[in-house]
């Protein structure tokens, strides 16, 4: 990547400018300007307005950290992450190994597992809330439970034990597992068959081959998938909003409100753009810290 000094080719500069201009201007307006403006707004009393002018220092941040609803939202997302990340990771890896091991009709199975990825969270939430986990005796989960003699469970309103997590986690799992399976499949198919042949000569068992050949070879894919699942978990909004509803300005009855739903309520519901902006920055900070920490533990980017 060493570059020599050379004469500026103005035709090249012109072409470069024309080709990059839309993206440079677009990102400038909708990211850089937006974030800078919002950052300033977070130090303003911006209730019902998005214009600057009433400086209040760190009051919005203080309000946020003092609001138990905000702290609860952080707890909600932490719990959700703890459930969703390992489950999604293991399930998608297992699915990829299974599909990869299938010879006949592999394309069919891959398609079936992938197709939920075309469904939106809104539609999935609808099916989960109104049919699978609606709590009626004729709800699918209760019908299946009934086969084993279980009583109907009010899935989405029962908080002790918090069985609503079953609905939340299975929904996302159904939607996403096929997408991550594709990544693992690509990784699996990039592993050289000669490694397994060598393993066979040494008499490895199936499990040993998986543990000592497959897993290490999938290391980069695994780190990428883990990161993607984690980022996606932090951005949870659609399914919580649609499963549990969100009353505007504090009339919510939702048992679970992750941070983005909280932010939506304060920015769009209460029209308090100052608190909404402050929340966006607190969340950004948390996400950056967690990403860095994960990098430290999982070794993100360490491979080279």
């Amino acid at each position: 990547m060493k570059r020599r000094r050379r004469k500026v080719d103005w035709r090249a500069v012109g072409a470069f400018t024309v080709l990059t201009a839309p993206v440079v201007i677009g990102l400038g307006v909708f990211k850089y300007v937006a974030i800078a403006w919002s950052f300033l707004l977070s130090f303003n009393d911006a209730r019902g307005t998005i214009s600057l002018g009433h400086w209040i220092g760190f009051d919005n941040y203080a309000f946020l950290l003092g609001d138990s609803a905000f702290r609860d939202s952080l707890l909600v997302i932490a719990l959700f992450t703890v459930f969703i990340v390992p489950v999604t990771f293991v399930a998608s890896l297992a699915l990829a190994v299974l599909v990869n091991a299938i010879r006949r009709g592999r394309a069919f199975f891959r398609t079936v597992f992938l197709i939920p990825g075309a469904v939106s969270y809104v539609v999935a939430a609808l099916v989960w809330k109104m049919a699978l986990f609606n709590g009626l005796p004729s709800g699918v989960a209760n019908v299946i439970g009934g086969l084993f003699g279980a009583d109907p469970v009010p899935w989405l309103s029962e908080t002790s034990p918090p069985v609503y997590w079953v609905a939340v986690v299975t929904l996302r799992l159904w939607l996403q597992v096929g997408l991550y399976m594709i990544l693992f499949l690509a990784g699996l198919q990039a592993i050289s068959p000669s490694l397994y042949e060598a393993g066979e000569l040494d008499g490895t068992t199936k499990w040993q081959a998986f543990r000592y050949i497959t897993l290490p070879q999938l290391r980069n894919t695994s780190v990428a998938v883990l990161l993607l699942i984690l980022i996606a978990a932090f951005q949870a909004f659609d399914e919580f909003y649609n499963l549990f509803g969100t009353g505007l300005s504090g009339t919510a009855t939702a048992p679970v409100k992750p941070p983005l739903v909280y932010l939506y309520d304060s920015a769009l519901g209460d029209q308090n753009y100052g608190v909404g902006s402050a929340g966006a920055f607190v969340l950004t900070l948390i996400i950056v810290v967690i990403t860095l920490l994960q990098g430290k533990f999982v070794g993100f980017g360490k491979k080279d």
Binding site: A15, A34, I35, L41, V119, Y121, I182, Q235, A267
Partner: protein
Amino acid sequence: MAVLTPEAPPAPVRPAGPGRRNWGRAPKYVLAGVLVLVFLTPFYIMVRNALMTRPQVSSPDWSWLPDPLSWVNFHDLFADPSVPMGHALLNSLVIAVITAPVGTMFGSMAGYALARIDVPGRRAVFTYVLVTLMIPQSVTFVPTFVVVGAMGGVNTTWGIIAPNLFSAFTVILFRNFYLRFPAEIEEAGRLDGLGYLGVYRRLVLPNSGSMIASLGALMFIESWNSFLWPLVIGQDPSSWTAQIALSTFLTAQTINLPALFAGALVTIAPLVAMFLVAQRFIVRGIAASGLKE
């Protein structure tokens, strides 16, 4: 930055490797078959409920099939004046049909320039794009609302579309794609007297079809399914997308449940169809974008 280096697209399906024989085939297929049933159940439920009558769908007894088939739900779906489903579907279509090609085009243009046109300041522009990738996408909805709101974009179609046309992710993927692009094609074009833009438009673009198809398909899906941003910016029913209309329908006080499921079916139908037709490109796109982040 190393993680942003592209891997080759997934290899075509390769015959199963060695060591897979001694399992016996049956358990694998039984397991996969059971999983197929599990994965397809929500689709079956959608179709079943969309064709049931209202009493049937809320009956405490389980039934496998609607009896009789109640096609009137599809009529009800579009007849409810409080939820303008037809208009919302049209909005979604317009938004996705503009976002996907234009967004992909912008990504291809910038990606090509960043990969192949060596000018002073190129690194700076690349970093400028890359930085926006590191900002968590959805926490920016408040800042973006603030700016789009100030520009008068609330309740407008362009307000929903505009911020999504500029994707750092797409730019980076295209850049990686063009870094591997054979240089001979461009040299030949230049010998024939084409300028930089001519080479891009006449030679590079026509040879980027598969990448454009795969990212275009992904952008279409993302746009069609997006919920948070259209919810934030389109508060008036006239600017609702299909997802917003469904969600409003879902959280409304009185619900015509079978019509709601009919709405779900209508909303996912175009994407499922597209998935089945363009699967090759979509899988490529997922694999490409996933390995990059």
